[in-house]
Structure formats: C-alpha cells, structure tokens
C-alpha cells in the first residue's frame, strides 16, 4: 500500500515553478522591441518553419519560448479567441490586454490544477498608432502577467540579454536599429559580435499599416533576405 506523504502547498508550488523554470532556461531566447516604426520581434531559431513568433490579429503578435507543442497550442487558442471575438463584436474590440488576461487565466489554471505546468513564457505585443500606445505583456508559466515598457526579453539567457538591450534601447530606434540591437543582444553568450540574419526568425508589427502598407494587418514575417536588405539599407 502506498503512503500519502504530506507536502506543504509552498513546497508544491516551488517544485512546480522550479520545474517550469528549468524547462524554459534550456531554450533559446526571444526579444521584442518597441521602436519608432513599430514593434520588432526577433527569436533565435534555426528552424525556418517551426515558428516562435506568430500573428494573432490585426495589430497583435505573439512570441514564445519553451516547449514548442505547448506554446503552439496556446498560439492557436489565441488566434481562435481573437477571431471569435472580432467576428462576434468588431475588429476594433480585439485587444492585447483582453488576450493577455485570457492567457494568464489559462496558464494559471494549468499551473495549479494540472499534472505539470506549461514550460513556456509568452509575450503579447500590440502596436498602437503612436509609440506611447504600444502594449507589451509578458506572461510566465504560473499565469503572472507584467506590462512591460519598451522591450521584453525571454528565454534561457534573459538576464544577460536584457542588460544589453536596456543599455542601448531608446524610443527613437528605427526598425533596422531595433533589429541590429536584437541581433547583438542575442549573441550575448557567443563568440560573435552579432548573430547573422539567417540564425533568427524575425517579424514586425508595422505602425500605421493602413496608410503605409494599405492593409489593416500590421504583422509581417521577415525572411532572411528581407532582413539582410533591411540591415544593409541603413548601415
């Protein structure tokens, strides 16, 4: 017969949190930077098809680190949530705040109730008409939600990378400037000065996409050749 041992709730939560943290720390990092031209999302990701960054809605994007199957199911659930909401109310009524709070509830419920917590960390970004109206939310495995200012760094080397980004981030950064900063920051633990454009997955949420790009969908994935062109343009 098995004996049920008493485990204090504090210990139980701590064990779960440590488990999730370990899983996330193994992963490669993601940087989300708000800049003058919009919001840049860059992930160190050698795969060109298994994305860590995705489009959720017109002005909202998603970035994640951790276990692919877990954050991919969260991404798809986010797209469903946004599309149902936009379809039943109006496209304007889909906000990053609403989405982030639903994510927080899901993550929190899984953290306390399920066998194992999600080993993921998410960022939800919404580009506004002006930079002051940009929203960046960071969500952790236990359902905590934080409203970040200017940039979000997640993943294994988050502390090292954020130090680099914090040192150089300014609100007037151009898109190319933000990309360059992210490539430099993601190389924090490596021999090289900056990662090459082929080693990352990049996307952008363009500001004022209606007037500049003729589409209300602000999200655009940048292929390695787009990145190279962008980085050379203003070099």
């Amino acid at each position: 017969m098995t004996q049920q041992f008493y485990v204090s709730p504090e210990q139980l939560m701590k064990d779960r949190a440590d488990f999730a943290r370990k899983g996330i720390a193994r992963g490669r990092s993601v940087v989300v930077i708000s800049c003058a031209d919009g919001i840049a999302l860059i992930a160190e990701n050698p795969s060109p098809s298994l994305h860590k960054i995705g489009e959720i809605y017109d002005k909202i994007a998603f970035a994640a680190v951790g276990k692919y199957n877990e954050f991919e199911s969260l991404r798809q659930a986010g797209v469903r949530y946004a599309d149902v909401r936009g379809y039943s109310y109006d496209r304007e009524d889909v906000t990053a705040r609403g989405l982030a709070s639903v994510y927080a509830q899901s993550l929190g419920a899984v953290f306390t109730a399920e066998q194992k917590p999600f080993e993921v960390e998410l960022a939800v970004a919404e580009v506004g008409p002006a930079q002051e109206q940009d929203h960046l939310y960071r969500l952790t495995f236990d359902g905590s939600i934080a409203d970040e200012n200017g940039f979000v760094v997640m993943g294994g080397l988050a502390d090292q990378i954020s130090d680099v980004v914090r040192g150089a981030w300014e609100s007037e950064l151009t898109l190319a400037g933000a990309m360059r900063l992210a490539l430099r920051a993601l190389a924090a633990d490596k021999e090289v000065e900056a990662l090459p454009a082929t080693a990352v997955e990049a996307a952008v949420l363009y500001r004022a996409s209606e007037s500049h790009r003729g589409s209300r969908r602000a999200f655009r994935r940048l292929l390695p050749e787009d990145m190279t062109r962008l980085l050379n343009e203003e070099a």
Partner: protein
C-alpha cells in the same frame, strides 16, 4: 478560449474557423438557426454582380442597389468585397445573410492563414465558400438564398479564375466572364458583346461598368451610375500583386464616358 490542456488534441485541431464556431459557438453562424414555420417578412435583396478575366488577372464589379419588393432598400450598399489579398467575392440574394456569410468567409481565410502559416489554394478557397453556401440551404428553402460569385488569382497557373455557385453549394468554374443576380441576364448579354481576350485592366473596368449600365437599363432592381449622389459601382481587380479597389474618381470618368457615348448615339440603347 479553449483550454489547450483539455482533451485529446485531435478534437481541437482544426484550421477552419467555421468548424470551430460549429463546435463552440454555433449561435454565431449566420445559417445555423432552425426557423419556425411561416413566411419570412420581406428583407433587402442584393442584385447584380459581374466578373470577367483580363490579361494577368480578374475583375469583379457590383452595382449599389438593394431592393425590398418594389422599394429601393439601399442606394449605397456594397456587394463586392475582398476575401483576402488575392481573391474577391460578390454576393447576390438576401443581403443580411450574404453580408454575414462574406464576413465569415473573410475570417475563415485569414484564420487558416494564421493557424497554418500559409495561404489556402484558390480552389481550396472556392470549395470552402461552396460549403458555406450549402450550409445556408435550409435558409434558401425559406426563400433566403445567397448566391456568391468568387474570383481570384491562381499563383500556380498564373491566371485569374472565376467560380460561380448554385443554391445547393455547387461550384462551377467559369471561363471569360460571368454574372449573377436579378440583372445578370442583361449583364451577360452585354458582356458577350463587349468582352474580348486579353483586355487591359482599364478596358476591363470599362466593360464591367458598361455591362452593369445595361443591366440597370432593363432590370429595375439594379442601380445605374448615379451622378446626383456621386455613386458608382464597386469594382475590384485582382492580379499577381493582390487586389485593388478602383478609385471613385476613375469610375466617375468611365461612367460619364459611357453615358455620354450613349447620348451621342441617340438610339434606343
């Protein structure tokens, strides 16, 4: 939001927005209601849509009138919509349902693109629209039919293609040009005389506007160009670069030229 940790993944894994709604929010679908017996009060009907191919693409145009019996319900209604970047659809039939089906179809295509990370093929899009029209069959049997016309650019073959539908959701690929709605008989007659292979985009717009002019001439439910209110047909073109709405200014000039040429001819149309 679905809790992703719940249940086997297979039951949730759908890239179709319509399927998702059917499972979780069926009341949001435009065609899921079971109607009680009786006749439906008259409601606005959208009328004529024309579509034609031209060199390197396809075009769709619709007049601006909706009718309710003998009354003009709207002079401003728009019945041609971009479905996604590379396709457009026009609708004839019960306006309220048709506009909701259009909205559902637009979300369906965008949803697939976001979930799968790639665009549906043109025929795939056409089939999805057919499934929605079939879903609307019970409503059609109550007299609330919706008949769309679908057109898009096929990146594989590099040409613009046209699809028409019947009320049961049957999908038929059309060649050269097609028209649906109450004025379609007259518009088709005009298209047969005006359409030629390898039209330029500008000429194609003029042909579409003239076909709608002829439809409005003989069909009371189709609106002609309205210089008093400055209302012109809604015209979209689709080519390799995506869809584009023809600006009002260009349409005003084209419609003006047609009216003028007919007036000079001074004949019984």
């Amino acid at each position: 939001m679905q809790d992703p940790s719940n249940g086997p993944l297979a039951t949730q894994a759908t890239s179709s927005f319509t399927e998702h709604l059917q499972r979780s929010r069926p009341e949001l679908l435009p065609f899921s209601q079971a109607l009680p017996a009786g006749t439906v009060p008259s409601s606005p009907h959208a009328t004529t849509i024309v579509a034609l191919t031209f060199a390197g693409g396809v075009l769709m145009a619709g007049d601006r009138r909706a009718t309710m019996g003998n009354v003009i319900a709207s002079r401003h209604i728009e019945k041609v919509f971009p479905a996604d970047e590379f396709s457009v659809l026009g609708i004839a039939g019960t306006a309220g349902l048709a506009i909701d089906i259009t909205r559902l179809f637009q979300v369906e295509l965008e949803h697939y693109e976001k979930i799968e990370g790639t665009l549906l093929s043109l025929v795939g899009k056409a089939n999805r629209l057919g499934a929605m029209i079939r879903g609307n069959l019970p409503m059609a049997m109550q007299g609330m039919a919706v008949i769309p016309l679908f057109a898009g650019f096929d990146h594989v073959s590099g040409v613009g293609r046209l699809f028409s539908y019947d009320v049961t959701g049957g999908r038929y690929e059309e060649q050269e040009h097609h028209s649906v709605g109450s004025g379609s008989v007259f518009a088709r007659g005009a298209l047969k005389k005006l359409w030629r292979p390898n039209l330029s985009e500008e000429d194609a717009v003029a042909v579409a506007v003239e076909a709608l002019y002829d439809a409005a001439d003989d069909d009371s439910a189709t609106g002609g160009p309205d210089p008093v209110r400055q209302l012109w047909p809604v015209v979209y073109t689709v080519n390799r670069a995506g869809n584009r709405r023809i600006p009002e200014r260009d349409l005003a000039a084209i419609a003006g030229a047609i009216v003028e040429s007919r007036a000079i001819a001074g004949r019984e149309a």
